[in-house]
Subunit: 310 residues, 2 copies
């Protein structure tokens, strides 16, 4: 009974946060130039807005905000750091959808940026969302302490670049194109980089804002990595079992492309079992920190990640 | 006589700095992972190295290092900040060369990254160079003071993104594709964003490291913007008057594409005169700061920008 109530509260909390994140991104991506900008070219800004506004569960910002809330921080305090993470996520979707990469026409049920605009604009819009993420994180409005802001920047870059998200995307594409079958361990590593690194950073950013001690930081990072792994399996299960109407993007791509997934290796049932085990490990990490009911939203978020239907 | 001697010293100083910058970039782009990175995928790293190593005058790092030297700082102290600026410059070349953008096959006499590798790798290599620039700037090794580092990050992002370099590239492409003839003022604004913003930031970064006061910072920023304008005219003159063998990239593109340039508006002689006037204004800005002979290298750099032959 308690779990059901929590579930309903959780969905409300997730969508309330999504609305706040949308408003914050809307304000960050307004046509208004700030000091140091010559001008915001209209078409480029429109493409950035197409990529970043009007949709998404905003799971990464939610993780940042709810991790900060473990330490008693209000959502507003974590909002800009959360938006920086989301801007990186949005840039990655724009570039991953490009014809030279995954070549997707649909995203969240709408045309991808290169379809709605053109390829050059999509490349530049992605570049600008990424650049803007670092500017947002570095700006004094994000936090009073410059040492904390610069650490947000550094960790966001580490999670997103060569040794993280973008590196994982490169490994994934390379395996697909060279028809090099990744081993189980290689697949897990690739996914930990491609999907896990930024999700784990979303948690890490919240922990940093909350001034987590070393033990808390380590457990929260493990939590983030575990839900990252579960998230990727859930994503693969969605691709394997949904249709495009439910998914808002093309379905069944992975099998078609012979992509390295946990499903291809463990089967549907094996993948589901692994996903659930990962979530229970993640929950145990959180519970080890004795945050009591303050951790409920993150626990629910972990279960949501496993059970999501789109 | 003095000018000739200075000129010879200047070329030596510029190439000595280029060698130091190359070594620093080589070390930053080594296969060795750092803490927080899962792994550096070999092919992606090779593409980043192709883009960032083995050439270039390293004018932007030189500007950062020589501006810091005005304030008595040794080259090593400014080197990582200088590399961050250069990494952003290198990323911009990789993305600008893509088929969907300027579609160039040659850069510094070598195949462009998407030719030597493939388009997807070029997009990701550019993304990773950009991301890495911010990580390098944010890392404690760059400077002891986190407030200074986070300001380097913020200003680098401002100069590179929507309201700076990438925004300028978008305006340039848009004018070309829609065959919308930019006015003289629009052309100057586009170029100030596309080329000027990052060059001016290279100077600004050095001034920041040197703890320039408000008057010095303002004059140095004007200096940077003026040489940025002169640089773009020199670039256009090179494109109009060289062949590919001298240039190491395709020549005569601008006229062919009917691109907005100062030459198209003022003619060759008019453009040269404007370039020279900009350089003299830039030199006057520097001389107003009473740095004496310490400013010689930057003054020579300004004249070098105007007179460069490749």
């Amino acid at each position: 009974m308690r779990e059901k109530t929590l579930g309903a509260n959780f969905e409300q909390r997730l969508s309330a946060t999504a609305i706040q994140v949308e408003a914050a991104l809307e304000s960050l991506l307004s046509p208004q130039t700030r000091k140091g900008e010559t001008r915001r070219p209209a078409r480029l800004l429109a493409a950035m807005r197409h990529a970043a506004l009007g949709g998404g569960k905003r799971l990464r910002p939610f993780l940042t905000i709810e991790t900060a809330a473990l330490f008693g921080l209000a959502p507003e305090v974590a909002m800009r750091a959360a938006c920086a993470v989301e801007l990186v996520h949005c840039y990655s979707l724009v570039h991953d959808d490009l014809p030279a990469m995954d070549d997707d026409d649909l995203r969240r049920g709408r045309p991808t940026v290169h379809k709605a605009y053109d390829e050059a604009t999509a490349i530049l819009a992605g570049d600008c969302l990424l650049t803007y993420a670092f500017e947002v994180a570095a700006d004094p409005a994000t936090h009073d302490d410059p040492a904390l802001r610069v650490e947000l920047v550094r960790l966001l870059a580490l999670a997103s670049g060569l040794g993280g998200m973008a590196g994982g995307q490169a490994l994934d594409l390379e395996a697909e194109r060279r028809q090099h079958k990744l081993s189980f361990e290689e697949t897990l590593e690739m996914q930990a980089m491609k999907t896990g690194a930024l999700l784990a950073h979303a948690v890490e950013a919240g922990a940093l804002l909350g001034r987590a001690d070393a033990r808390q930081m380590a457990a929260l990072l493990r939590f983030g990595r575990l839900i990252g792994q579960a998230f990727q399996i859930a994503d693969d299960l969605l691709d394997a079992c949904s249709d495009a109407a439910t998914l808002g993007k093309r379905a069944g791509k992975d099998a078609e492309r012979n992509k390295a997934t946990v499903i291809a290796m463990l089967g549907l049932d094996g993948a589901e079992q692994r996903r659930d085990a990962l979530i229970e490990d993640a929950v145990a990490e959180l519970q080890s920190l004795d945050f009591g009911t303050r951790a409920d939203a993150l626990i629910e978020a972990a279960r949501f990640v496993a059970g999501r239907r789109s």
